[in-house]
């Protein structure tokens, strides 16, 4: 699913066709790339705002431009795999997800630590998040809370949790599933 990261693009990239290299002035390099290349049939330019918004949710602010550029580059490189009868947005979104996942993997290798995909939160936000999580945990049943903490904080496997609590593994997974869904959707 992941692809080899392409080299970083520069505005003078030779992906553009000669006939369109002179086009739009005043656009950022990614927009120029999308407009100047043979991407017109794809309609990449129209998707750029949504693409940027998606990437901004997944990466630190300082990396967004580079990643959007990488997504466009990858889309152009693999455009032959795009089925023109389908919508471009989902195809581009999936490409963006892959680019962001690869980006996180690269950063994880560099820092040798797991970092959340979303932009790094400020300390105040983290404290707020912890308080929020404490409230959400209190709303879970005792066994859901226990299973969730054991799995995600203590690193116990489903089998270990099942053995410790005297439950079937399927039951543990059900509790985990319910607890995660509530954690994702509940508001404090």
């Amino acid at each position: 699913m992941t692809h080899e990261p392409p080299p970083k693009l520069v505005p003078t990239t030779n992906l553009a066709s000669p006939s369109k290299q002179a086009a739009p002035q005043g656009l950022d390099p990614t927009a120029k790339l999308a407009a100047a290349s043979d991407s017109a049939p794809l309609g990449l330019e129209r998707e750029l705002p949504a693409l940027r918004a998606l990437v901004a949710k997944l990466a630190p602010a300082g990396d967004v431009d580079d990643l959007v550029q990488e997504v466009v580059s990858r889309a152009l490189r693999y455009r032959d795999t795009f089925d023109g009868r389908r919508a471009l947005g989902p195809w581009l979104a999936k490409t963006a997800l892959n680019v962001c996942v690869d980006h996180r993997a690269r950063r994880a290798r560099e820092t040798t630590s797991h970092e959340p995909l979303e932009p790094a939160a400020a300390p105040d936000t983290r404290v707020e998040e912890r308080e929020h999580v404490a409230v959400l945990l209190a709303k879970l049943s005792r066994v859901e809370r226990d299973v969730l903490v054991r799995f995600h904080q203590c690193g116990e496997s489903v089998r270990e949790i099942a053995a410790a609590l005297g439950l079937a593994e399927g039951t543990v997974k059900s509790h985990l599933c319910r607890a995660r869904k509530r954690l994702a959707e509940e508001r404090p």
Binding site: C100, D146, C154, R180, A184
Partner: protein
């Protein structure tokens, strides 16, 4: 089109296997169809990362509670036994600092005498080693009270 249930199934499967849900093909397809699902997934990821480092609730591990209690009791019992054993041991004596005459020295004789004089009448009470209590009363012109204890230490009774 993937339903919400299918999306969450794919997310849970990835998490159960400790994989990144965003790298999962099924999750990506679901997100590509409806990008707004990403908000819930990111909220989940953020909240899982913010889970407090709690100890799992012990109520579900009665054997662990029993083991911990047994360990505490055994430790306290062991310490107590050790203290009692140490108290029962004779105080070690450095043989180089004790003369031959000191060895086995004990009290071989003692006398306790209590004297009390009131209004010219003096009463003396003596206790001697054989346990006899002797009382003597004398008429004197003085008023006093005193206690004396004498003991004799040696090797021979």
């Amino acid at each position: 089109m993937k339903t919400d249930a299918e999306f969450w199934d794919a997310v849970n499967t990835a998490l159960d296997e400790r994989r990144d849900p965003l790298a999962d093909d099924g999750v990506q397809d679901a997100l590509a169809e409806r990008p707004e699902r990403l908000d819930a997934l990111l909220a989940l990821e953020r909240r899982l990362a913010a889970l407090p480092r709690l100890q799992p609730e012990l109520a579900h591990r009665p054997w662990l509670v029993a083991a911990a209690a047994a360990a505490v009791i055994l430790t306290l019992g062991g310490v107590g036994a050790l203290v009692l054993w140490r108290l029962a041991l004779p105080v070690p004596v450095d043989p180089t600092t004790v003369s031959a005459f000191d060895v086995g020295e004990q009290v071989i004789d003692f006398r306790i005498e209590v004297s009390r004089s009131v209004g010219g009448r003096r009463t003396v009470v003596r206790v001697v080693p054989d346990g006899t209590l002797r009382t003597q009363s004398l008429d004197t012109g003085e008023t006093l009270a005193s206690v004396s204890i004498e003991s004799t230490r040696g090797n021979q009774p």
